[in-house]
Structure formats: structure tokens, C-alpha cells
């Protein structure tokens, strides 16, 4: 920003971006035959094998914003920010054990979204609508944050104005419209390779320049190096850390873009294999988190060259500033392209996932029942454009903090679909009306806690029997949701036979 346009870095960045654009349009040509059908455009024909699914899910879950925000949190808050690592550890046993069931039932019944499954399992259109709306509302700010990720690196390159962001967005919108999930899968491969190159170089070169890991950790203030310990009557940061990791892990595969990634795989075995190999990305994420401490050690915050960047983006500018400080210009171009292209993949998949939800669970259910598969595909393509345009306007018109706050709330909301989706895979003794009330209770309680916190964090201190227990608001709201759902289900089932029909049978799940 203050340094003016970095020509070498910008050239490399633009060249890589252009290469990926071409690739996206080549991917868009994919299979022509039934391209307009929703399962083809929105799930890549359910055809991806282990390797492509690995790239796709990796690109989808470990987003560009993650790669900017996680080290930013470590940079600003210390040990607490490292929760992203245990979070991604806890996700995989769950993915391995539970989500193959979702794949199987979706495959057997032609479900495209989690709300499709809830509709079939519990026979309630209203509950399915609640699940679909939650998914869409929780995902929209996430897309906006991806665009913020692009904005940060454009600023780092010294590119002025908003036009480049609009251009990057146009590329994204065009290839998603034409190529659907297949185009995203192709770009994901390039994105992930760039990310791995950047991370490997960064964790070798930067510590050497800074004098080794010992020196980097020695520069971290003692109060932030570890979590604040327990004191009498207060569990301190440790319970917050554990619930943050567990709650985030439980929420991850409830997000529509994660479900879309899962259902696009060609078999349940592909999902199980990926649960074993996806942690490779967590290693990258852990190393990237440590970049936050490297930025502290490098002292970029007090350098006048980066003052404008920090002023505009806060701690989110820590990693771009670190790269600018430590790397030659041409490698800055590669690293920033990794982040920029890294934003395109999840943004595309998220908009596809929202489009699938709208088409299946709102348009087909309430607006035009019995529409043809080709029409479904057309509606989804248009919806994906509308969703992305909404995200772009949001980023251009609103203060950045709105997107960040809404994404925080999104995590609290999406986890409230857990009883319907995840428990629904195992039992249908839960009553849809009870699930709906539990969902509402969880959303209200979680949002209320977040408001009490002034949206400044997501760890809300519970006072239980005189003990202060700091807890991730999404997690405590989920506990309430589970309690309400199960108690009311038992009550409803006691008085009347559940009148709703289950469209699935036990064999569909295995």
C-alpha cells in the first residue's frame, strides 16, 4: 500500500490468475451430455475419486480466509488462536465414522443437500426449510470473507481501487456458472499446489531469517504463549479452547459447502480414505498459524511501510506484511496468488452449495413443484450468480467487520442443524416439531450470548453452581438445542404417534 505498486509481484500474481482462469474455462467444458442437471452442475456428477476429492475438500475447507485469519488470530491473541489445529484434528474421526452414511443415503435417494435428507427422513417440509435457510444464511458471509481475503492481498501488492476485486469476482462468477463443481475441482488442484509450495518455503526460509523457532517463540509475550490457567472457581481459557475446537469440528461438515464437497465423491470409500489423508492440510494449517508468531518476531506491525495495511485490515494484514518483508518480489507474487486463487475455490463451492439449497429446498418445494431436472440446473446456475453478486455488494458497501461478525454468528447457527442432520442419520425417534423448536431455541440462545459479548469473540462465560465456565457460545447453544429436541420428542411421541413418513430405510445408510 504505502510502498506503491510492486510490479514484479503483481506480474506473477496476474499471470497465475490468468492461467487459472483459462483452466477454469477448460474445466467448464467437462462432460456435456447432461450438464444442465443439478447433480451434474452442482455435484460434478457425483464422480470424483479419492485424489480429486482430496484437492476439492482441501480447497473447500481450508479457505483463503482461514489462511489469513488463523495466523492473524495467533498474531493478536496468542495460544487461543491455535485452536484451529485441534479443531481440524477432531473433525476427521467424525468425518470417517458418520458422514459415509450421509453419502449413502444421498446416493440411494438422489439427495443433493442436507435439507433434502432431512425432508426425506423426517417428512417435514418446514424443518427442511429451516435447515436450508440456516445453511444459506450461514454461508453468505463466508463467501464475503473470501472476497475480503482477495482484497487483503490486492492491497498488499499495492493495487489501488476496487476494480481488480470486481474483475476477480467476474472470473469466479463466469467459470462457476459455466463449469459448476467440475471447474472448481480443476482450480482446486492448482490452488492447493501453490499453497503447499508457499507454506513449505515460508516455514523454511522465514525461521532461518529470524534466527530459528526458539527465537520466534521467545519473542511471544509470556501471557499469550499458553492459555490462561484455571483459578479457583474459573476454568479460564482452557474450557473455552476445548469447546471452541469441539464445537467448530462438529459444525464443519454441516456447512453446505462441505456437504456439497462430500456428496460429489464417487463412493463412501472415497470419503473414508479422505478422512485419513486430509489431515495433511492440517499440518499446513498448523504451520501457517505459526506465521502469526513469525510476524510478531519480524516486528512488521511497527514498520511504517505496513502501517496503512494494518490500519485498513487489522491483524489480517500480518501474513501479507510478513511475506512482503521476507520474500523476494517474485515469490510474493506466488504466495499472494495462492491466497487469491485460494479464495476463488471455496467461494465458488459455497455459492454452488447455496444455489443447490435454494433450488431444491425452496424453489422446487415451494415455488415450482415438479419442475424438470434441466430447469433445476438453470435455476441453480442463476442463483449462484445472485449469491455471489450479493457477497460482492456486501464487501464493497459494508464495513468489513460486518462480514466477520456475521460469519461468527453463522458458526453458531449452522451447528443448530446437528440434531436434525447428524442424529437423523442414526435415529428418527426425534420428532420434527421438537427438532424445529430445539433449532429455534439454539439459534436464539446462541445469538443472545453473542450479543452479550458484543460480537467481540465467541467464548461466553457460563455461571454454573458458582463455577465460571467459559464456553464456545455455539457449543452451549447446541447443548440446549439437544436437550430441548430430545425432551420434547419424548413428550410428543408419548401422546401421539409421529404422523410424519420416513422416506428412507435402514439399507439406504450402509
Amino acid at each position: 500500500m504505502a510502498k506503491g505498486l510492486d510490479l514484479t509481484a503483481t506480474s506473477v500474481f496476474v499471470a497465475l490468475f490468468a492461467a487459472v482462469t483459462v483452466l477454469g474455462f477448460v474445466g467448464a467444458r467437462g462432460r456435456k451430455a447432461d450438464h444442465d442437471e443439478l447433480a451434474e452442475w452442482g455435484l460434478g456428477g457425483r464422480s470424483f475419486g479419492t485424489l480429486i476429492t482430496w484437492f476439492l475438500l482441501g480447497g473447500d475447507l481450508y479457505t483463503a480466509y482461514t489462511f489469513v485469519a488463523v495466523p492473524a488470530l495467533v498474531f493478536g491473541a496468542g495460544a487461543l488462536g491455535f485452536f484451529a489445529v485441534p479443531y481440524t484434528i477432531l473433525v476427521y474421526p467424525l468425518l470417517f465414522a458418520v458422514f459415509p452414511r450421509l453419502w449413502s443415503v444421498a446416493h440411494a435417494k438422489g439427495y443433493v443437500t442436507a435439507a433434502d435428507f432431512v425432508r426425506g427422513r423426517f417428512g417435514s417440509g418446514l424443518l427442511a426449510l429451516a435447515i436450508a435457510m440456516t445453511g444459506i444464511v450461514a454461508t453468505m458471509p463466508y463467501i464475503a470473507l473470501q472476497l475480503v481475503g482477495i482484497e487483503v492481498v490486492l492491497a498488499g501488492l499495492g493495487i489501488p481501487g476496487r476494480l481488480p476485486l470486481v474483475l476477480a469476482f467476474a472470473v469466479l462468477a463466469a467459470y462457476t456458472y459455466l463449469g459448476g463443481l467440475r471447474a472448481s475441482a480443476m482450480i482446486a488442484v492448482v490452488k492447493d499446489l501453490l499453497i503447499y509450495v508457499t507454506v513449505i518455503v515460508a516455514v523454511i526460509v522465514i525461521p532461518i531469517e529470524l534466527g530459528g523457532f526458539a527465537k520466534i517463540f521467545a519473542g511471544v509475550p509470556a501471557s499469550r504463549l499458553l492459555l490462561a490457567p484455571m483459578t479457583a472457581g474459573n476454568l479460564g481459557q482452557q474450557s473455552g479452547y476445548a469447546t471452541l475446537a469441539l464445537g467448530s469440528a462438529l459444525a464443519l461438515f454441516l456447512y453446505p459447502h462441505a456437504v456439497t464437497g462430500l456428496l460429489s465423491s464417487s463412493s463412501r470409500r472415497v470419503i473414508r480414505r479422505n478422512a485419513v489423508v486430509l489431515p495433511a492440510y492440517s499440518v499446513a494449517l498448523g504451520l501457517i498459524a505459526l506465521l502469526g508468531y513469525m510476524a510478531l518476531a519480524a516486528g512488521v506491525k511497527s514498520m511504517p511501510a505496513y502501517a496503512a495495511g494494518f490500519k485498513a485490515f487489522g491483524p489480517n494484514f500480518a501474513v501479507p506484511a510478513l511475506f512482503l518483508q521476507m520474500f523476494p518480489s517474485w515469490f510474493v507474487g506466488i504466495a499472494f496468488a495462492a491466497i487469491g486463487i485460494g479464495a476463488l475455490v471455496p467461494a465458488a463451492i459455497m455459492s454452488i452449495a447455496c444455489a443447490n439449497l435454494f433450488t431444491r429446498n425452496i424453489y422446487k418445494e415451494y415455488i415450482f413443484p415438479g419442475c424438470s431436472p434441466a430447469r433445476e440446473g438453470q435455476v441453480a446456475k442463476l442463483t449462484s450468480l445472485v449469491v455471489k453478486l450479493g457477497a460482492l455488494l456486501f464487501v464493497l458497501e459494508m464495513p468489513q467487520i460486518y462480514a466477520i461478525n456475521l460469519q461468527l454468528l453463522g458458526g453458531i447457527w449452522i451447528i443448530q442443524t446437528l440434531p436434525s442432520v447428524l442424529l437423523g442419520l442414526y435415529t428418527r425417534r426425534l420428532h420434527p416439531a421438537a427438532l424445529l423448536i430445539g433449532w429455534a431455541a439454539g439459534i436464539l440462545a446462541g445469538t443472545w450470548m453473542e450479543m452479550q459479548l458484543g460480537l467481540k469473540g465467541s467464548i461466553y462465560a457460563l455461571h454454573i453452581f458458582g463455577e465460571i465456565i467459559p464456553c464456545y457460545a455455539a457449543f452451549s447453544a447446541l447443548v440446549l438445542n439437544l436437550a430441548v429436541s430430545s425432551v420434547l420428542s419424548a413428550t410428543f411421541n408419548l401422546f401421539a404417534r409421529n404422523p410424519f413418513v420416513d422416506a428412507t430405510v435402514a439399507e439406504d445408510y450402509v
Partner: protein, 73 residues
């Protein structure tokens, strides 16, 4: 067919492996410390990084046993 379905769904002792990471990671007081550090990296950080790999490894026995029994097509 029902018998086979039940076998797929049923709990097996090997599934206990899946719980291990949750115990190791959620017991925060155990690893919220600096020592033993390795090459200047505090225990808190290398312990959790190590569990990324261990977390993937504990899935292997479950995966292998279920594949062997053809329970996961």
C-alpha cells in the same frame, strides 16, 4: 441381507480408536505447558502438531479392519 446390514452398522471394539484423539485433545490442562520443549518449540505447540499425524493414524486400524471385512463399499 438384514444380517449383513447389522454387521455394518454394529459397534466393534476397534471403533474405540476413534475416541482417542478426543481424549488427547480435549484434556487441555495436560498439554497447556511449555516444558518439555523441543528445539525451543513449547510442548503446547508440538504436542498438538504431533496429534495431527496421530489423529490420522488411529483411523487406519478401523479402516483396514472394515475394508478387510468388505464393510465399506
Amino acid at each position: 441381507m438384514p444380517e449383513r446390514g447389522r454387521g455394518r452398522k454394529g459397534f466393534r471394539p476397534v471403533h474405540l480408536f476413534l475416541i482417542v484423539p478426543y481424549v488427547a485433545i480435549l484434556w487441555v490442562p495436560f498439554f497447556n505447558r511449555v516444558e518439555p520443549s523441543i528445539a525451543g518449540v513449547p510442548f503446547f505447540y508440538w504436542y498438538q502438531m504431533l496429534w495431527i499425524a496421530l489423529g490420522a493414524l488411529v483411523l487406519l486400524p478401523v479402516f483396514v479392519i472394515e475394508e478387510r471385512d468388505g464393510k465399506s463399499e
